[in-house]
């Protein structure tokens, strides 16, 4: 442990696959984030997410035949002093400090200051957790006949979401209906009113470039 300085930040990458196929499960990159084999249609019970709110216990809002994937690449986490030197102390840019102080944000219901003395100098000297992505972006390459263009370099976050349909499903049938009572999250009696997807023209995951410094502090 003698060489540990305890002053370095950390880099974090994260991968999350929900009813979808991770890289080690597919033969080529274009299939990353595609649906698991048992996600085939609105009735696929293993590919559902259902919500129920208080006093709405007659049924469920069911996200049907859904899968998702998330990759976050190389998010840098470090400590900072908010108004400190941008290099030595990971502080914010000069432009960020040109905005007027809104001290109401740091006060309670009675108007008492909860954050030091609610002055700019107090905020400048306060510590924070900083998450950072370098400013980046990608490029677009036009396609050829039959092949839409492609994007490269949008790799900070890869996000894929697919939901074939959304509908409310009920626990009990009305008189005259033939379907059996069952928890609504299992049912598929009402089809869909809307579906949605987040993807790329060439893959199952949208590419997102994020830049900047994010500071979290509290009071």
């Amino acid at each position: 442990m003698g060489t540990v300085t305890g002053k370095e930040g950390v880099l974090i990458s994260l991968q999350y696959y929900y009813n979808s196929r991770p890289p080690h499960d597919v033969a080529n990159d274009e299939d990353i984030g595609s649906a698991n084999a048992d996600c085939t249609g609105l009735a696929s019970v293993n590919c559902r997410l259902a919500l129920q709110l208080e006093n709405r216990d007659f049924g469920w809002l069911v996200f049907k035949n859904g899968h998702a994937s998330l990759e976050m690449n190389r998010l840098s986490l470090d400590a900072a002093f908010l108004g400190g030197d941008p290099e030595a102390e990971n502080g914010v840019s000069a432009a960020n400090k040109l905005i007027d102080l809104n001290d109401e944000k740091f006060r309670n219901e009675s108007g008492d200051c909860l954050f030091g003395d609610c002055t700019k100098s107090w905020i400048d000297n306060s510590p924070a957790v900083r998450a950072q992505y370098p400013e980046s972006g990608g490029i677009y390459t036009a396609g050829n006949a039959g092949q839409p263009g492609t994007s490269q370099g949008y790799n900070d976050v890869l996000l894929g979401v697919y939901v074939q349909g959304l509908a409310v499903e009920y626990n009990e049938p009305e008189i005259g209906e033939t379907w059996a009572a069952a928890p609504g999250w299992q049912a598929n009696n009402f089809g869909s009113f809307l579906g949605f997807e987040i993807a790329d023209n060439n893959s199952h995951q949208a590419g997102i470039a994020i830049g900047g410094n994010f500071y979290m502090y509290g009071f």
Partner: protein
């Protein structure tokens, strides 16, 4: 010596999670430095922020099979959602090219969908002095039953996210694609924009650019509040206890806007191909200022429900609940304190419940002697109001006199007493 007595519990948790060997520069943190932390709120500042979907990446809303004659299925894609620098004019389009930001037709910041200055980053997306704040808070107010709640014991707790009251200007943009009658299309064939080609897809591609701030001109921030509703009892609603998850949202936006569809002569005009949009053409809105309060603590909220019986079951309801029919609540909704009405006009209106949308700056319209703001626009003005710029007739060039300014327009005093949206696509 730095003060460290303002760290949140969250910060401590984050540091501990990272492990002792990776505790970064937190060596000055000790128990006593946390003694002043109240746990009352979390602040989020964002510096040099930018966010860019790839121009080929999209969010899509998919329709269902159309029911009945005269209806076609529609599927909408929103590509390249971007939030980038808007303080400087320099920018680029979806192909990564610079665009004609010469200020023609007042398009200084509206020619290019993405800003490139500062690497695209927005210096004060959320300043450390005016950050996003997430906190639990208690507000006085009438609940759904008309009871006035004002003590710590009975005031409902709301979780609220408050946006900044001032930011640098951003560019917020995307390009959109509306595909019609998908099931009968062959998307691989492509077709001309919004014109039918046998065997090909019917579609309309468009570009939307907003240049401004997520605050009103007079500095109202956007606010999102989440709560459990209070006082929705059987006297008001058909169910014995109807309290449920509630949302209020105050939408605030000010700035300029351009919506366009024309593409350059060499742009590939095909479904799912990234268009090269013309830099000037489109519908412009200059000096927009909009405030829209949805819900009021604690007697009106956005709630979620479903059609509970009958043939439209399966469908989802978003409802901005009706103002309870109680005199005290109505008075609170319309007035600050007891309503002072003279000749039928409220003298002390409650401006927190009054939404407005102003398409143009009205300063000199309201006060002709003023030198602030912008003049009431003429037929070809490009600095104020609503105007159209034509796409010309040649190879993408625009003739200089092709501006048509419609003037300025506004809606004031927009209060919503009740709004209910029900989907109808399920269960068909």
């Amino acid at each position: 010596m730095r003060r460290n007595n303002s760290l949140s519990h969250m910060l401590l948790g984050a540091a501990l999670t990272l492990g002792a060997s990776q505790a970064m520069a937190l060596q000055e943190l000790d128990d006593s430095s946390l003694s002043d932390v109240q746990g009352a709120g979390l602040a989020f500042a964002m510096d040099d922020f930018s966010f860019r979907f790839a121009p080929t990446s999209y969010i899509e809303l998919t329709g269902t099979q159309a029911q009945g004659a005269g209806w076609e299925r529609g599927d909408a894609r929103y590509y390249g959602l971007s939030i980038t620098n808007g303080e400087q004019i320099a920018g680029m389009d979806w192909h990564g090219s610079g665009c004609g930001s010469g200020g023609a037709f007042g398009n200084d910041h509206l020619a290019c969908p993405m800003g490139t200055d500062n690497g695209g980053g927005i210096g004060a997306f959320a300043s450390i002095y005016d950050p996003y704040v997430l906190r639990a808070y208690q507000y006085e107010g009438y609940d759904y039953s008309g009871a006035y709640l004002s003590t710590p014991a009975n005031m409902p707790t709301v979780m609220e996210l408050i946006g900044p009251s001032d930011t640098d200007r951003w560019r917020w943009s995307f390009w959109g694609e509306l595909e019609v009658d998908r099931l009968n299309n062959n998307p691989a064939d492509g077709a001309l924009n919004n014109s039918y080609n046998v065997g090909g897809a019917d579609f309309l591609q468009s570009q939307t650019i907003i240049h401004g701030k997520p605050v009103t001109t007079d500095g109202r921030p956007a606010r999102l509040r989440l709560m459990r509703t209070t006082g929705m009892d059987s006297a008001l609603y058909p169910w014995a206890d109807s309290n449920t998850f509630g949302i209020t949202y105050e939408s605030a936006l000010s700035g300029d806007f351009r919506f366009s569809v024309r593409q350059k002569a060499n742009s590939e005009d095909r479904l799912h191909w990234v268009p090269d949009f013309e830099d000037n053409e489109g519908m412009y809105f200059k000096n927009v200022d909009a405030y829209l309060p949805l819900g009021q603590l604690h007697y009106q909220a956005l709630t979620l429900d479903a059609v509970r019986s009958g043939s439209e079951r399966g469908n989802f309801i978003i409802e901005l609940t009706q103002i309870p029919n109680i005199a005290a609540v109505y008075e609170d909704f319309y007035c600050v304190g007891p309503c002072n009405i003279v000749n039928g006009e409220i003298q002390n209106p409650n401006n927190d419940t009054r939404g407005y949308v102003r398409w143009g700056d009205f300063t000199r319209f309201d006060d002709p002697g003023s030198t602030d703001g912008f003049a009431v626009p003429g037929a070809q003005s490009t600095d104020n109001g609503i105007y159209f710029v034509s796409g010309g007739t040649g190879a993408g060039t625009v003739i200089p006199d092709a501006v048509t300014n419609l003037g300025i327009s506004r809606i004031e005093g927009m209060r919503i007493n009740h709004m209910k949206i029900t989907t109808l696509g399920a269960g068909l």
